[in-house]
Amino acid sequence: MNGKQYWRSLGQRRESAEFRQWLEREFPEQASEWTGSRRTLLRLMAASFGLAGLTACRRPAERILPAGRGVEGYVPGRPLYYATIMTLSGLATGLLVETHEGRPTKIEGNPEHPSSRGAATAFAQAAILSLYDPDRSRSVLRQGRRSSWEELAGFLRSHFEAAGRGEGLWLVSSAIGSPSLARLKALLLEKHPRAHWIEYEPLGREQELEGSRLAFGRALQPQFRFDQAEVILSLDADFLGLDCLAPAWITAFARRRRVSSPSDGMNRLYVVETAYSLTGAMADHRRRARPSEIPALAQELARELGLAASLPVVQPGAPRSWAEAVARDLKRHRGRCLVLAGPRQPAAVHALAHWINHALGNVGRTVYYTEPAVRTQAERLHDLAAEAASGGLRTLVILGGNPAYNAPAELDFAALMRKASVSIHLGPEADETAALASWHVPEAHFLESWGDGRALDGTASIQQPLIEPLFGGKTAAELVALIAGYPRQRAYELAHEYWTAQWPKGDAERIWRRSLHDGVIPETAFPEIRPAPDVPRLRSLSAAPPPAGAELEVTFLPSASTYDGRFANNGWLQEAPEPVTKLTWDNAALISPATARRLGLQAGDLATLERAGRRIVMPVWIQPGHADGAVSLTLGYGRLRCGRVGRGVGHNAYPLRLSGAAPEAAALRLSKLGRKYPLAVTQEHHSMEGRPLVREATLEQFRRQPDVAARQGPKTEPFSLFREHAYTQGHQWGMAVDLNACIGCNACLLACQAENNIPIVGKQQVRRGREMHWIRLDRYYAGGEDDPQVVWQPVACQQCEMAPCETVCPVAATNHSPEGLNDMTYNRCIGTRYCANNCPYKVRRFNFLDYHKGLEEVQKMAYNPDVTVRMRGVMEKCTYCVQRIEEKKIQAKAEGRPLRDGEILTACQQTCPAEAIVFGDLNDPESRVSRLKRDPRNYSLLGELNTRPRTSYLLKLRNPNPEMESLESS
């Protein structure tokens, strides 16, 4: 493949003996059917299988239970969609939620909402499972014993009577984006002027605001217009991955990477980072740097741009020349480029980024500024600690969040909590914090409670519930209202009252209803602010940290599965492989191959990590492309007080995490423990073996020869020995996946899981190689093992016209529909697995065990009623969401009109923030998919086998800076 060496993994690269053992080890001693299963088979199915054809034995009486009173506008059997929002770290994204018979079953992005634009993230997709999580806390607890909301109310009334002006009252809440809650906060502080309220997020972005304060003298929120930027430099900002504050960012970015003809242009992305992130994978030029090098590089860049000329040269050599080249490229694109810094970077780096953007005339074009939607103040936790030490802490109220688990290590939050005479915790589960609190209140899930919230750009939305609280949960607003002794107490009243007060009397109700319907409240976005940089201050500030003599630097990353630990009990997320490492059900200390060699470590080795006198044990994982001399630790694992799914999964890295600016650079000691730890990965199977699977070229190559995609494949002219079936009548479904847009996030995978009732199988089964995901995100490395590039390829059933799987099925359980679908009939399948063996794409999934076993009623509510739940022993696979196709077809017929292009969206397509997946009718020459099939970049995976896949891929392009080729090669 155009000179590139694709390889599987370090072990494989040098076919070492250890590697072979590793491969062996990858599979456990015995078949353990997974006990912690989460879902069960609808027994009816089994029953009807069993009964089919039995003699006339009495049929078990099945009941039909119609409602006593009809519900307005509700027709049994028809799904309804409602707009609402999901709030993460105080920022809201708009959702559209599908409900069947009153149970939410599927989440999509709200097209009307500025931050989602119809896309939904993996976290949003998985929220459905959390809603029906039977391990959520089910009642108010007092000292761990069952209590009640009323009892709590009584207690609080008396307690706060005594509290007077709020002496010794501290409230720690998660970030507040909700205007109505903000107002209640104000009210409460009015009533208790001595009280303190801290907004804390373990993954807060204080540095970002601090940076803008340095640059402009006031805290401002930068708002990015990625679709305007032609050159983007990311300083450790994973803005396509876990630092992404709005799916719309990805959409905007991806739009600038659409290339359909050689004349089209595309943006260029530079990334400087320590670990390998999704953004890094998309980069045209990625520079790996230890945390301490990044500020230096930022400063270098500023100097190259003639801004910080006065500052000393921090590091001569390579970074310098690199910075030069980038600087030149940025200068060439004044007003059309963008520099952004990540939340892990110190304020100074953010300040520099603001300054550079300003200097390059990007402000107001690729970036503009508004009021911040949320302000968190982790640093104020120290005041709390001080107060506690001085014995002044009387009452501690924790509104959401789990500080006992994730607060900065040096605070020893647990001890701090014990000092409070009364501590009240509101949270979705009885977690580490709840265990220490004298009162615990179950928090309502966002799909079951009223509220409101703001998107990053300030746009406000109503959070409307789709179901009554399953376990009688309460919202933060309700608890605050209770504490503040506010007359109104119910979440609905609190939100409704706040907003209707904002609007003209007569119109209020109409606007309210409209806002509910649209999912956004009109004219609520923040106005743009044009700040002026405080140049003297900027000149004086040096971004370079004190030279860190540390052997090993450490950086802490959010988890793609648990975020900051809050999603630990979500099986879908736990089993979704981490995009780059492909680790499931675990986290690990990521180090570079060189560092591993130096420390004599191998993947899976357990090691002790020591920092500032604290030590943890964790397995290491060797991550190609990771910065040398640095360790990346994924947060959010090792939860001890958590539901059955997440308890004890992975290792907790928080004990090593200290607060304060750029603490990450502080030294870390890592020593081998001499034991191995079993990790469940799928990554060892990711090498291209020089096969033209993911076809990739530079924009230049593509311009020189537009058919480069075809040229990269073998020269074959497949023909068949028999007369083929013609697929010319009616609809002919097909799909095109743009590898240039796909960013490798797991949104499609989880959307598919939610839509198609796909079970989770657990770590043991994943280690056996039995994961059930219908869509697989193949990740391949390209280039040297120290600094490779990463390419993605989502692979689901390709719906081959000449499907090898069909021919070999002895019972014709899989065969072809006239619309070109490769139908899979679960109830006919007897499970020979011959089809899977004969599938060159290996996209068929087999129910080796009853993965839906032992499920509680509440969990069954998550099922999509339009899709059969597969029993043990049958094969399953992607169907292009045939249930959606049929639904839309019937709808069109009912309305007596033809189907519109884009009316049918597959689950993966609908949620994809990068709009990389396009599905449609190949018989309609004007459909989007047909046009993409005519795109010169279009090619079929393994097309040379003459399987005639209906899914095809679009060539992956990179847009390297010609000046830098020399640097890369060095």
């Binding site: 062996e24 059917e33 039995r770 099925c809 290996k842 080796f848 065990l849 393994l942």
Partner: protein, 452 residues
Amino acid sequence: MATVSSSTESALVLGRPSLAEVTRTVAGIVERRTPRAWWAAFALTGSLTLVLLAMLGYLVTTGIGVWGNNSPVGWAFDITNFVFWIGIGHAGTLISAILYLFRQRWRTSINRFAEAMTLFAVACAAIFPMFHVGRPWRAYWLFPAPNAWLDLWPNFRSPLIWDVFAVSTYGTVSLLFWYVGLIPDLATLRDRAQSRARQVIYGVLSLGWRGSARHWNHYEMAYLLLAGLSTPLVLSVHSIVSFDFAVSLLPGWHTTIFPPYFVAGAIFSGFAMVVTLMVVARQAFGLQHLVTMKHLENMNKVMLATGLIVGYAYGVEFFIAWYSGNPYERFAFVNRALGPYSWAYWIMVGANVLAPQCFWFRRLRTSVPAMFAISILVNIGMWFERFVIIVSSLHRDFLPSAWGMFRPTWVDLLTLAGSFGLFLTLFLLFVRFLPLISMSEVKGMMAAREGA
């Protein structure tokens, strides 16, 4: 009774026993009271059979997940065992049918034995396709039975359906062949019966055979026909089994050489198993003068020949993989010889290609311990051949992202062991209650020799 003469003696029957002596020797085995050793062996194999039943029970109630199979390795021990046993089951019919047609006299004293082995091997083989499916209680959908509910039929394009027909036909015809051969001897046992029970049982089983000239007239024609039918049948069965792989598009499976290669391999393994069992049986029951060194040597020669064919096939596979220029094919075979499963590949080569070379030397060819050891090696080797073809091809195919490794579970191993238990149990019952050498044929041959 005559005693064994030196191993250089190459006659088919030693010491010119009288017809009566032949009868006494063979029927005697059945009529003598059960030896202790038999009971011991039976207890052992019987308990292994129970293990098999237990494993299958666990499998059906819990799911295929109790095995090591996974994605991409959808088939592993299950189909490996199936092909292995079917292969074993080829020697019997081959000896009785093909050698019969070629008028190979030396077949007479071993064919009954070999046919019985065939039947039991096929019985063991049939278990695996039945139970390797995810929902065995639906396995009857494999047969073209009309169904009032579904109105659905099997997919006759699938090699698995061809298997169903081939294996069931083969089993049935082998049974007929074997039973027809037994009828005259059953009559003998009836006539020699010392107890009423035996008299009635053998009497019914022999269908009232009288050895009348008219009987023999039709009988010989029927036997000839069965032989003529079984010959293409036996070749077709393993060809069709090989289609399971050849018809797919998997590199390492999709190979046109498979049918002849599989047939040769089947004969190879079948003869190996016959030798293994025969060596023990003739020792145990003192049949050295009926099953002579000549028989064993001939079988060893056949093993040498088929071993060479198999070895040749191994070589050709690699040549074609290279010659075809198909990168996937090339990788598959390099991976076979050098990949994570190379150990299995080299065991296979060692046992199937190298070991039989010993049979070039008369001394080894005619040494009972040597042939016993080598035949067992070949059995192991042939099991691994199937394992290599199935697992090493599946575990790394087209998309490296989907590659995986197979690791057997304890259930896999016990099921395999259990199938041997079943096989040997059936065999012990056979040698205990039925004449393990065809008396009428031996007598016929002796008479013919007198005539000559």
